[in-house]
């Protein structure tokens, strides 16, 4: 990696730090939306948003060549691991990364929506983490908004910046936007009686998004690590998917 690359990382780090210090830091607990914590109509609405993504994603998975399917399993496994890692954050509480950036870069947002939902389903069924009624909403934030973010960042920047920087940006911003999306979903369902949607968004945003900032950085680093490992060991598969190996 060139010196430039390091400077980029340092600058991005400083930017995140500045963002952090600008906010009131207080202890919060941040995760997915709990079972039963969205009114029935909103639960239904988010399912309706998610279903087309699952549909297209499943079709795309069927069209994958056998050659790249193991890589698909690996991308799914990466999300599986990362969403089990509850990491401490500067706000004094724990949350977990999402791991959806990698799969979105490799396979696109539709395929990733299926993989992310499988992970959410596992956690909703066995771990009382998230929920079945809120599965649609949590899928939209973690398995759709996150991957879409990563995918667009990757597509727009990959030819303009060093590849590892773009992977870092894609993964960490996907992580961050996932929790912003959760805040929006909660604020829509529970607008503040006085301040309305905006006041609620500020409240939930503080709870979910701020805790997530350092974790987003960690997720970015982790994704660069695994992407580098893939470049060394699975260059051919990456080329099949239209990505640059080494």
């Amino acid at each position: 990696m060139q010196r430039n690359t390091y400077q980029y990382f340092v600058r991005i780090g400083l930017l995140f730090l500045a963002l952090l210090l600008g906010y009131n830091i207080y202890p919060v607990k941040a995760m997915h939306i709990m079972e039963g914590f969205l009114p029935p109509l909103w639960s239904l609405f988010w399912f309706l948003v998610a279903i087309p993504f699952w549909f297209i994603g499943l079709r795309q998975i069927k069209q994958l060549t056998p050659h790249t399917k193991p890589l698909l399993a690996m991308a799914g496994a990466f999300t599986f691991v990362l969403s089990a890692l509850k990491l401490p954050s500067v706000t004094g509480s724990c949350s977990h990364p999402t791991g959806t950036g990698l799969g979105a870069i490799l396979f696109g947002p539709f395929v990733m929506s299926v993989l992310g939902t499988i992970v959410l389903l596992f956690q909703a069924l066995l771990l009382a983490h998230g929920g079945l009624t809120t599965l649609g909403a949590n899928a939209v934030s973690m398995a759709i908004v996150g991957p879409l973010t990563a995918f667009f960042i990757w597509k727009t920047l990959r030819r303009r910046m060093p590849e590892s920087i773009v992977v870092f940006l894609a993964a960490s911003l996907a992580d961050l936007l996932t929790y912003l999306a959760t805040s929006v979903q909660l604020a829509l369902a529970f607008p503040d009686p006085l301040g309305g949607f905006v006041a609620s968004l500020m409240k939930f945003g503080l709870i979910f998004a701020i805790t997530q900032i350092p974790l987003a950085l960690s997720e970015g680093f982790l994704t660069v690590l695994i992407y580098k490992a893939l470049q060394t060991n699975a260059a051919e598969e990456l080329r099949t998917l239209g990505l640059k190996g080494i």
């Binding site: 691991v81 706000t91 609620s200 060991n233």
Partner: protein
């Protein structure tokens, strides 16, 4: 692995470790590093005191220990798949050379 790439790898790992340690020093004193049960729930009750959840979890891990068992199972299963994939590909590459 070239030495440059090795340095990058070490830097990235160090960064992740640092990011997980720093919170213990700069978090507010009343911090409990809690997780699952959310402040979000509290915020909802604050905004809409009358709201009560209309569904409850399908299965609730009977204790903290069982919960952490399931979480570590989740992480280790995933790590297994990743390690298998990378190791398999690496072996294939070496065999070809």
């Amino acid at each position: 692995m070239t030495s440059k790439s090795l340095i990058t790898t070490i830097t990235l790992i160090a960064g992740i470790i640092l990011l997980s340690i720093v919170p213990f020093f700069i978090a507010p004193h009343e911090a409990d590093f809690g997780g699952a049960d959310g402040k979000a729930e509290e915020a909802i009750t604050e905004i809409q005191p009358a709201y009560s959840p209309w569904a409850s979890p399908f299965l609730k891990p009977p204790s903290k220990e069982i919960e952490s068992l399931l979480f570590s199972l989740q992480a280790s299963l995933g790590t297994g798949v990743i390690a298998y994939y990378l190791g398999y590909n690496r072996g294939k590459k070496v065999a070809r050379q």
